[in-house]
C-alpha cells in the first residue's frame, strides 16, 4: 500500500497526466464506494467521484514536486471528495428545484434494507448529510475510507484526540438518526 502510494507520487511528479491516470485506476474503487455512501445514489456517486478526481487534478497542476511527494493521496483524495460533496449539498439547498442530495432535518425514520442491487443506502446517506460537516468528514474518513486515527487527524488538520472525538460523536449521532422511531411517542 505504502509502496503503491510512493510509486504513484513519483509517477505524478514524472508526468502529471500519466500519473493521474494511474491515480484514477488505483483509487476509483475507494472514491466511488465512498461517494455511494455519501449520496446513496449510483449516478450521483459517479458524478461526485468523477468531479472529485477532476478537482484533484486541477489542484495538482499548481503543486510542485515537493508538495506532491508529501501528499497522503488516500486521505487527500477522500477529503477532496468530501469538500466536493459539501458544495453539492450547498448547491442543492440553495436551488431545491435541482435534483441533488436531500438534506432532511432528520433522516427518514425507517431506513429499510439497503438496496442490494445497486449497493446504495439512501437512508444512511441522508443520515450522513444530517451530521455536522466535521463529524461527517471524520466518520467517512475513519469508517468509510478506512483511514487510521492519525490519518483522519492529518486529513482534517486537527489533533488526534479531536479527530477521535469527532468520529465518536459522529457515530453516536448517526445511531440516533438511524434508530427506529419510538412507537410509544404521540
Amino acid at each position: 500500500m505504502t509502496g503503491t502510494a510512493t510509486d504513484l507520487r513519483a509517477a505524478l511528479v514524472d508526468d502529471l497526466d500519466d500519473g493521474f491516470a494511474a491515480v484514477v485506476r488505483t483509487y476509483q474503487g475507494l472514491l466511488l464506494g465512498t461517494a455511494l455512501r455519501l449520496t446513496g445514489d449510483r449516478p450521483a456517486a459517479e458524478d461526485l467521484a468523477a468531479e472529485a478526481f477532476l478537482r484533484a487534478f486541477r489542484a495538482l497542476r499548481d503543486y510542485d514536486a515537493g508538495r506532491i511527494a508529501a501528499l497522503e493521496l488516500r486521505g487527500w483524495l477522500v477529503t477532496v471528495l468530501l469538500n466536493e460533496h459539501r458544495n453539492t449539498i450547498r448547491t442543492a439547498t440553495r436551488r431545491p428545484a435541482l435534483s441533488g442530495v436531500p438534506v432532511p432535518e432528520r433522516a427518514a425514520p425507517d431506513p429499510g434494507p439497503a438496496d442490494v442491487a445497486t449497493r446504495a443506502d439512501p437512508a444512511l446517506a441522508a443520515a450522513l448529510a444530517a451530521l455536522p460537516a466535521v463529524q461527517r468528514d471524520a466518520v467517512v474518513l475513519r469508517h468509510v475510507a478506512d483511514l487510521d486515527v492519525p490519518g483522519v487527524a492529518a486529513a482534517l488538520g486537527v489533533g488526534e484526540g479531536t479527530a477521535r472525538s469527532h468520529v465518536s460523536r459522529g457515530l453516536a449521532r448517526l445511531r440516533t438518526l438511524l434508530a427506529p422511531p419510538d412507537r410509544s411517542a404521540p
Partner: protein, 239 residues
C-alpha cells in the same frame, strides 16, 4: 466488524471504470484542411489545434492542462475525422464563450458574418472586442466555424490557422470571395433590394438572388434604415 453500523458504512465495490469520464485523449486526425490535433472527452471534442512539429506535443498538452484542466493522454484507437457536424464538449467554456460559439456555429457554410453581428446575436452588441477574443481562442476551430466571422467591413481578418486558410475554407464551402472582396473595397456592408425594401448582409443567400438592376448598396445599417429598408429576417443584419 460486528457493529452493524460500521458494516453499513463500509463502502461497496461499485465496479465501474471512471477513466473515460476523467481522462481525455488526443490524437492526430483529418480536418477540412489536413491534419489537426484533436482532444476528446467522453462527451465530445474539447480542443482542436494545428499539428505541430513536436513529437511529444508538449505545447499542445501544456495548453490543454492550463485551459481545460483535465488529464490528457494519447489516444490509442482510431480517431474519426472532424468537420462541422462533429460533437463538441464545451463544458470548460464560460457561458459567454459558449453563447459566442453557439451563435458562430449557426452561420451557414459559405457565408460570413462580422464580429459585431455575433455580438448582437448573443445579446451583447457592445462586446465586439470580447467576441473577437473568444473566437481568436476558439477551442474547437473547424468544428465551430470561426473562419466565417469577418471584420466589420467584410474583409476576412485574422485566423488561428492563418488568413490564407480562412480564405481556402470559405472558398471550399462555396463562398464567392471575389464578389465579397469587391463589396469590401467599395465600402458596401449591406445590400438592399428595391423591389422588396429588404437589406441583407452581402453573403446572405437572399442577397445573392437580388439582380443587378434591383441591387441597392449601403455603407451602413443606418443608411439602409434611413432609406426605409428593413433587415432580412434570415441574416438579421441589424437594420
Amino acid at each position: 466488524m460486528s457493529d452493524p453500523l460500521l458494516a453499513r458504512l463500509d463502502p461497496p465495490d461499485v465496479g465501474k471504470d471512471l477513466t473515460p469520464r476523467v481522462v481525455d485523449t488526443f490524437a492526430t486526425t483529418r480536418g477540412p484542411l489536413g491534419e489537426v490535433l484533436v482532444a476528446r472527452s467522453a462527451e465530445g471534442v474539447t480542443y482542436v489545434r494545428p499539428v505541430d512539429d513536436d513529437a511529444d506535443h508538449t505545447g499542445f498538452r501544456a495548453e490543454y492542462r492550463r485551459r481545460l484542466g483535465r488529464p490528457l493522454l494519447p489516444d490509442d484507437g482510431p480517431v474519426p475525422a472532424i468537420d462541422a457536424r462533429t460533437r463538441v464538449d464545451l463544458r470548460a467554456c464560460s457561458p459567454f464563450e459558449r453563447d459566442v460559439l453557439d451563435v458562430t456555429a449557426s452561420i451557414p457554410a459559405g457565408q460570413t458574418r462580422p464580429y459585431g453581428w455575433v455580438a448582437r446575436e448573443v445579446g451583447r452588441p457592445a462586446a465586439v472586442r470580447a467576441v473577437g477574443t473568444v473566437l481568436a481562442r476558439n477551442p474547437v476551430p473547424l468544428i465551430v466555424p470561426c473562419h466565417r466571422v469577418t471584420k466589420a467591413d467584410g474583409s476576412l481578418g485574422r485566423y488561428m490557422l492563418g488568413e490564407a486558410a480562412k480564405a481556402r475554407l470559405l472558398a471550399a464551402e462555396g463562398a464567392d470571395l471575389g464578389r465579397l472582396a469587391a463589396f469590401t473595397t467599395a465600402g458596401v456592408v449591406l445590400i438592399g433590394s428595391d423591389t422588396t425594401g429588404i437589406a441583407c448582409l452581402p453573403s446572405c443567400h437572399h442577397a445573392r438572388r437580388i439582380t443587378d438592376a434591383h441591387r441597392v448598396p449601403f455603407r451602413s445599417a443606418a443608411a439602409a434604415r434611413e432609406a426605409g429598408y428593413r433587415g432580412c429576417r434570415v441574416c438579421r443584419p441589424g437594420v
